[in-house]
């Protein structure tokens, strides 16, 4: 059953269209992410769901009920702000209990509920503290507890991890996912960080310029991108643009500035169409000969322990990256010498421009 339904949603600010005709269904209990670069309209969608932004066109339905004309304080949603927006003059306990106090829940019930949430978010002994006395991760958990206190049907999170340092961010990813599994509330998560989206989400909507490019789980958007934007935005990718010259079965040949390359033609493009061939760095082989071959000058080898990123400059000036697992870094020819990369046709995707 769809918990949140977005129906032909359009939001305009003056002459600028932030969200263009988006339709989407988010299931009950799902961890759903909107992934996109800044300015793609993902925050606008979130604010429309929470009620802070009125749609120009279209509707938002939560649990089957149309939300138009219902203010943010009447909706079954709770929003976690990018800067958390905790109340600095209240203690942790008062912060978490605020939503219940507003609803006139008797003090005894309220205290019990807050204690439960403190326990759930591993803050049991922090209740009496002021917000400024907490660490970044603790503040994060207070914000989650405060939002969960009002028992929302949908929890909306607006890039809540972006202010944390890398280690804590990775820890909080697991924490958020664990809390979501425990409470079973629908989470709608906004991020520009593909790592966050891929690791936490059940499904991801990749957005660009106010439109949804693709909806699917992490594997779908990474391995089977439907558009060239998704292919280049989610994960690293090498792209070669050109014109399709030959079709054979589910494969197509594309004429690019680095030569003729062959890849899978899943979008049924026809001869003469402008297209881009994408090949993941990890699907590249270095020094070998294969179905598709590229040659150029070795530019850089970045050794990261488990993987090594090799950069090759081709004759038109563009760079191609190959990621190798293991320790072949030593085999990489010295900078400036000629080198060749190869890749298999089944690993390359040809998508329209």
């Amino acid at each position: 059953m769809a918990d949140v339904e977005i129906d032909c949603l359009t939001v305009q600010f003056g002459s600028f269209t932030a969200v263009k005709d988006v339709s989407l269904q988010i299931r009950q209990g799902e961890f759903f992410s909107f992934l996109g670069p800044s300015g793609c309209g993902k925050t606008t969608i979130l604010r429309t769901i929470s009620g802070f932004q009125d749609p120009t066109n279209g509707a938002v339905r939560i649990g089957g009920q149309d939300m138009s004309g219902i203010g943010p304080n009447q909706r079954p949603t709770a929003l976690i702000f990018q800067n958390l927006a905790l109340f600095p003059l209240m203690t942790v306990f008062e912060n978490i209990g605020y939503g219940l106090r507003v609803r006139g829940v008797p003090k005894a019930n309220r205290d019990r509920k807050v204690d439960e949430l403190l326990h759930l978010t591993a803050l049991s002994d922090q209740g009496h503290k002021k917000i400024e006395e907490l660490s970044g991760g603790q503040k994060q958990r207070v914000a989650i507890a405060r939002a969960l206190a009002v028992e929302p049907k949908v929890l909306l999170l607006d890039e809540p991890l972006s202010a944390l340092d890398l280690k804590l961010r990775q820890y909080m990813r697991n924490e958020l996912r664990a809390i979501q599994r425990r409470v079973g509330v629908t989470f709608i998560y906004i991020t520009h960080d593909q790592g966050e989206a891929l690791t936490m989400s059940d499904r991801i909507a990749v957005m660009n310029r106010g439109k949804i490019e693709q909806v699917g789980n992490g594997r779908d958007v990474y391995e089977y991108p439907q558009t060239s934007f998704v292919a280049s935005f989610v994960g690293e990718n090498n792209g070669f643009s050109g014109t399709i010259t030959k079709i054979s079965g589910d494969q197509a040949e594309i004429e690019t500035s680095v030569g003729r390359l062959v890849g899978l033609n899943k979008k049924s493009l026809v001869v003469g169409a402008k297209a881009i061939l994408f090949i993941r760095p990890e699907a590249m082989q270095c020094g070998a000969q294969g179905e598709n071959n590229l040659s150029g000058i070795a530019a850089d080898a970045a050794y990261e322990g488990m993987t090594t990123h090799l950069t090759m400059k081709v004759h038109d000036g563009s760079s191609i990256i190959a990621t190798l697992t293991g320790a072949p870094a030593l085999e990489f020819p010295p900078q400036g010498s000629s080198v060749s990369f190869a890749f298999a046709t089944r690993d390359a995707l040809i998508l329209p421009v």
Partner: protein
């Protein structure tokens, strides 16, 4: 004690103060374990000396000394020029005695006229401060949290522009507007709301309106500055958690802006209680405001010591009252200066 004995002490004060500041700078307490340069090393000797001397002279000659002279003068008797410094020039409480009993020596009757004016001034100033707060809060909130930047600039201009006109002129303009054949009365009579002109001046309405308007800008700015520092996301967070608008104002906004409220109210209260132009121009024949009485001590009665005593009573009463209210609101002076 012969009152002339006070003068040498007052003149030595600046030099004592310089020495004290010098010693403070020299033996400045330093955080333990931190190697920090001394005040003189940090600023260089010439700048350090300039700072010490300039701050001393500024604070003493502009602030402390004039007040001390007033305090000293308030304890002196009113004497003809020739007897000043003579054997009759002794420190005395007669000026304060006059405020309470209406006579420098006899204690039979209470000086109700002055005492009533004094308490009325304090009370009315308090009401003006509260009224100003109620009037300015919505506007300040709108400007600080709701309005787009361009409109805020326009509003600020509209608010500041009237204050380019000097206070006396504004007071007279208000008097003309509110007089019995002024614009307001003409409109009221013309529209049939009243059939007799309303006596705005005799009923002190003009006075309160004038005083309320005179210092409104200080209230607006105090509130605007603190409301502006409130993160708008806090208001949205409260709304998102289900709070109705009154709950957000009562429990999120107002606790946050308490220092701004205190500083705005303090300013308006103090300045209203000490205001002279508006009461002189706008008060009616029966009005009792304390500052014109003080003014009369100096200029009409030509009794400077008594004027000094009256001014001091007002000052001490106002400061005490403000400190008491701050205490009630659990605020320190440092917070309202933020």
């Amino acid at each position: 004690m012969l009152s002339s004995a006070g003068h040498p002490f007052i003149f030595i004060l600046p030099f004592i103060a310089i020495v004290i500041f010098w010693v403070m700078a020299k033996f400045e307490p330093k955080p333990v374990g931190v190697t920090q340069k001394s005040f003189f090393e940090r600023n260089g000797v010439p700048v350090a000396i300039y700072l010490i001397v300039a701050v001393t002279f500024w604070s003493l000659f502009m602030i402390v000394l004039p007040q001390l002279f007033m305090v000293e003068m308030s304890f002196r008797p009113k004497l003809p020029q020739i007897e000043i410094g003579g054997p009759k020039d002794l420190y005395t409480f007669e000026n304060y005695h006059y405020f309470i009993y209406g006579s420098t020596t006899i204690s039979d009757a209470i000086n109700w006229v002055h005492i009533k004016a004094f308490f009325l001034t304090i009370f009315a100033s308090l009401l003006i401060a509260i009224f100003n707060l109620a009037l300015c809060y919505p506007l300040a909130f709108y400007m600080a949290q709701v309005a787009p930047a361009a409109r805020v600039r326009f509003f600020l201009l509209l608010l500041i522009a009237p204050y380019w006109v000097n206070e006396i002129l504004r007071a007279f303009a208000l008097r003309i507007m509110l007089s019995s054949n002024g614009l307001i009365n003409k409109i009221l009579i013309g529209s049939g709301v009243v059939d007799q002109p309303v006596d705005f001046i005799g009923n002190d309405i003009a006075l309160y309106a004038g005083l309320g308007y005179a210092y409104m800008l200080l209230m607006i700015f105090s509130l605007y500055n603190t409301i502006e520092t409130l993160d708008h996301a806090q208001i949205e967070a409260a709304r998102d958690l289900g709070a109705p608008w009154w709950h957000i104002h009562t429990f999120i906004v107002i606790p946050f802006i308490k220092p701004g409220v205190a500083s705005g109210c303090t300013l308006v209260f103090m300045l209203s209680a000490g205001s002279l132009a508006a009461p002189l121009v706008l008060s009616g024949p029966r009005s009792l405001w304390f500052t014109p009485i003080v003014y009369d001590r100096f200029n009409q009665a030509f009794n400077w010591p008594q004027g000094a005593a009256y001014a001091l009573i007002l000052l001490i009463a106002c400061v005490t009252f403000v400190l008491f209210v701050l205490r009630l609101g659990r605020l320190s002076l440092g917070e309202i200066a933020k």
